[in-house]
Symmetry: D2
Subunit: 370 residues, 4 copies
């Protein structure tokens, strides 16, 4: 029971604080013989790293990942892979006041209440910098999936920022063309204006991210308490600032009747074909073969320039503003984190399924059991 | 790694199928010396059991729980507690057609695709009957909490059915006075009329349930991957038919600004006092001492009388209606299940915290570290 | 973290006390589609059950196992298998004195010290009756191995009782012909005379059991902390009364030089052939393809008729003799338990290997990597 | 399920290969507020490190440990502690031949058979260098024990080398005065002569190490499958080259009668007093309060200068000698590793006990339940 570990067979443990010497992930259970090098991980870290647009924190971190173990002559060996990222831009002086005070809506107070001690520099362990380690681990998962399940593709994007959803139809080709990873050029423009205002006022705002995974084989997920949707919900809820997780219809499923919600099927040349995907690709905790659809809501950053009422360690009432370099919408940088978690969960369940059920035997519709 | 187990230190494993001889839960890690008898568990099982109103399935199950181990002379001994519930009303003949066909929106197809074999009688392992075992385990957790953390109180209720939310102000005293556990007498009347229509048409509808836990000590939750909200999200998402989970503001957190979302604090006589609870009682994965608020959406039952397009094991296209005794709104019976999962998660984290941090040392605001 | 669970992917949780209504095992992670019925488990339980010869306790237990879940139409479904054994011959009145006193060399005192409460009837949870549940779980493992790895064969036997080892050469065909499962007819006769004396004097004696597993594929075992030998050591040490575990040469490895200990190899038609097996079939925690050899020492039963100095719950010094029906050499009945644990460990690692590495890719000597 | 992790609540994951850039341990679950600095760990690493006498490998490793996370202003914060040790003296050129050949009695062949790829440099992941990471983690455990259970003391020593046991009575004060950590000056002199001969002939030899832990509270250990002795057996068997583990009487328990084996008790002023300790301080998997006694046998190093018959990757029969810098008796350096594992297991069970049972309630002999 590692409280800082995630996954069953493909399992990573993250470690490190925002302003300590380094942070990273210890990845255990990776299959052997997979080609990996640091550049394959760096591409995902670069997507998450701060300072890439004016809409993310201006902290400058190289986020350069080093592989310290588990890879030999360019291939994984089946032993633990240690991924280390040095912290380089730690302006700890920015955090003087935070050492004594508790930001409202931040983990400052709970870490103190739990442990009686906290590394207050940059949020310490509760900082979103921890997610860099997840993105690195997710890079490993993607490389394994590329070999073991090459049909799998994972794509994350934003679907809402503050009160603004996506205007008009989605165009997935637009995702990489704007700083919000929103699948709509027009929407990106609207959001840019909106978020500029938020940023300039020293405020912050929440967001909704969605991650889609296509090409997943049917049969992944281990009922009852390691269901695919259970693990995805845990994966996404564990990301900093996430307050809600939805699969397929999500909270809206409450509004539907049984007739509306049923994803009807007809037999196609390659297996069942579905007329809709209210289920988000998961029934009874097991993948149907349809696209996996997960959404999560990210609350606004608690570090804002407007004074808020709070208390300090001495129990004194104070009014606090948080200076420093913060994200006006931390949801933006949550997109690659959500993708990484999706990759880890899907790979983990692929290995779990292979372990319990094997590559071979499985129900074959319209034929005999394979 | 038990795929049918839940929890870290307080850990239960459920087993059993809808129409097998019995089902139950093996509860491990229960503290010793706690007074338990079967009647203390039965009260919760009676709340969940089918056939208590016309709005739940008319299957008649006594749901009588037997304690087979781990309790001696009325007290827990610290060893595993086996809770068994015999299945008594299994009209397997109702399920002839289901043996060959896959209900749209049901786990029929995914269990078959995963395992190549499934106990189709009543949904087998994927049936919501599994949740009876959780409710029994939750009864154990409640008894332990009553002794170790007597301030803790857990209350579940519905907040939405189909498109209908709660009309007017909430009155928590009304929860036990209506078949929906909705905190509003007027709303209960509206919902009754609505659900009668759904039931008579052989349809079904979704719902939203909320579980509140008051009196929780600050400091519970084990970052990063055993956060209190992470475990609650997994707990609720693992319940049959759940498609979304929210903590505090939930998905709506996306719409808020940092100013709105900050739960401001002032120092009170007994510690911090909060002006609001957007966080749902959890910051950075750790409890603040405020009320825990969790919501989850339950999709409509897939068993309906309107024919739906689907396929059978032979890959033939068919139109299917599902006869038998089903819940028009399975969300109703999910309320006590949500309560049980809340009890298990809170107790588990109480024990985890005691293990790692101890009863004593903890940050004390306005004083020295205890 | 279930403290009463064993295994990684194939994982069982045992529950129940010696004189409670029942005991059993919850088996999770069993592959689907395996033919199982109660008679296949009963054969192993009958081997372990008390009262089969005058050398084992005269308690009469049918040890009849019931399968309550996870098997449908004669085949496993991939869901948890609940195995229940009713206790039938509980003469609790025999245990009046034990309720207050602590037998020297018995878990009476430690359970009390740990939990402050104990089910003293027949040793409660610390009774060797718990091992009946393991034997049932081991029966499942054997059935799975028979299908997934049909070359695997497991055989346990005794190699020492008190000071007496095996006289003369081993004859494995004799194992099932005597009550000691000793591979030597002559030795069985000597031991019978010896143990008769022990039994009649109301004393007890220790033993050494060995379990051999042949036909194991090379490559099983998950370094560093789930090594095959690590898990076997844990498996055997967890059996009641075991005080030592050896792999291959075991403690005697200390006496050898590097030259003596090296199991030399030559290439044979089907792979490496070894000139010796000091390693007991395991190198670096991974199987070599040779026979697995595990031995464990079982201490004498603490329940004897000679008075021993001890104390009671009130802290009074007393002299205690233990009446009732006890085993003069509990090591005899540990043989089928050791076999069951071997079966579970080997299957578990077969599934783990399949999960992480797959059925296919593996180093192929004298050829390319498969 | 991390295959490279050990422990339940206090849990560490080791990573790294003999000749990679670094190795280390990720320690999770450490209580907060414990004073730790690198020098407190270095003292134990220095005890284990190579090159300290002519009886250990002449490889020169600084084995300097760096703390990368989890410690703030000199105290643990309750978050993961990353311990990194850089590899500095990697003469990889020594290992040219090993890349193609399999040393008899070494993990070379099994890693290849399992994974199809191996880091052959210095044994890669199977090298005893991995144990440096355990020693560092053990240093953390010792620091925590010093604060939570200050009576606990752990001492390891050798009791046998090749055929030579300890001559005459034990003198624990001598342990730190000789390179073998043997509690007898006279024996140390005999062993020195013996091992010099082994070393000069390019051979190697096995050994037995014993680790004693005094001052352990009664009640630690979590039956049935996380028994204190089960976890100690797993801990020690997981150390490289260990082939046997004994608790108390160990394998010799087979020779005893029930009368001999009973550790008789009388009530003393502070609780039960025992007349002997055949049990090694553990009954029913739970500590009695007596000294914990664990022994393990270490096989001789497989790297020797005498040619042995073996095969290479191409399946060719070859005769192999292993040059390079090796330990004539690797058992010597296993002593601090055994101590580290003991510290980790005892702390882990202290936390587990505190979690399930609490600091307070426990059976009190001669009084009421606390």
């Amino acid at each position: 029971m590692s409280m800082n570990s995630f996954g069953h067979l493909f399992r990573f443990t993250t470690w490190g604080e925002s302003h300590g010497p380094a942070l990273g992930a210890t990845v255990d259970g990776c299959p052997p013989g997979i080609e990996i090098d640091e550049s394959m991980l760096q591409v995902w870290l670069d997507k998450r790293k701060p300072g890439t647009s004016k809409y993310t924190t201006q902290r400058r971190e190289a986020d350069q990942v080093e592989i310290l173990s588990g890879v030999f002559e360019g291939k994984t060996t089946g032993t633990p892979i240690q991924l280390m990222i040095r912290n380089t831009d730690q302006r700890s002086k920015d955090y003087g006041e935070i050492a004594q005070a508790f930001r409202p809506g931040h983990a400052d107070i709970t870490y103190f209440q739990k442990y009686g001690i906290r590394d207050y520099r940059g949020g310490g362990r509760s900082s979103a910098r921890e997610t860099a380690a997840r993105v690195a681990a997710g890079g490993i998962a993607r490389a394994v999936l590329a070999q073991l399940a090459p049909t799998v593709e994972i794509k994350g994007y934003m679907t809402q920022i503050g009160p603004h959803g996506i205007d008009g139809p989605r165009d997935m080709a637009e995702i990489d063309n704007n700083p919000f990873w929103v699948p709509s050029a027009a929407t990106a423009a609207t959001w840019a204006t909106y978020l500029d205002g938020i940023r300039k006022s020293g405020s912050s705002v929440g967001a909704v991210c969605e991650v889609m995974c296509t090409g997943v084989p049917a049969g992944l997920g281990a009922p009852i308490y390691a269901k695919l949707d259970t693990d995805l919900a845990a994966a996404m809820m564990s990301i900093n600032a996430v307050k809600g997780v939805e699969i397929g219809e999500g909270m809206n499923a409450a509004c539907l009747t049984g007739e509306e919600n049923a994803d009807e099927m007809r037999m196609g040349p390659n297996g069942p074909e579905f007329g809709s995907n209210h289920a988000g690709g998961i029934l009874g905790g097991i993948s149907t073969g349809q696209d996996l659809i997960v959404r999560f809501a990210v609350k606004p950053t608690s570090s804002i320039l407007t004074p808020r009422q709070t208390i300090d360690k001495d129990g004194k009432d104070i009014d606090l503003i948080t200076k420093g370099r913060h994200d006006p919408c931390v949801g933006i940088r949550a997109v690659p984190v959500g993708e990484a978690m999706m990759a880890c969960v899907v790979l983990d369940h692929l290995l779990l399924h292979r372990g319990q059920v094997g590559d071979g035997p499985r129900g074959h519709i319209g034929g005999k059991t394979q």
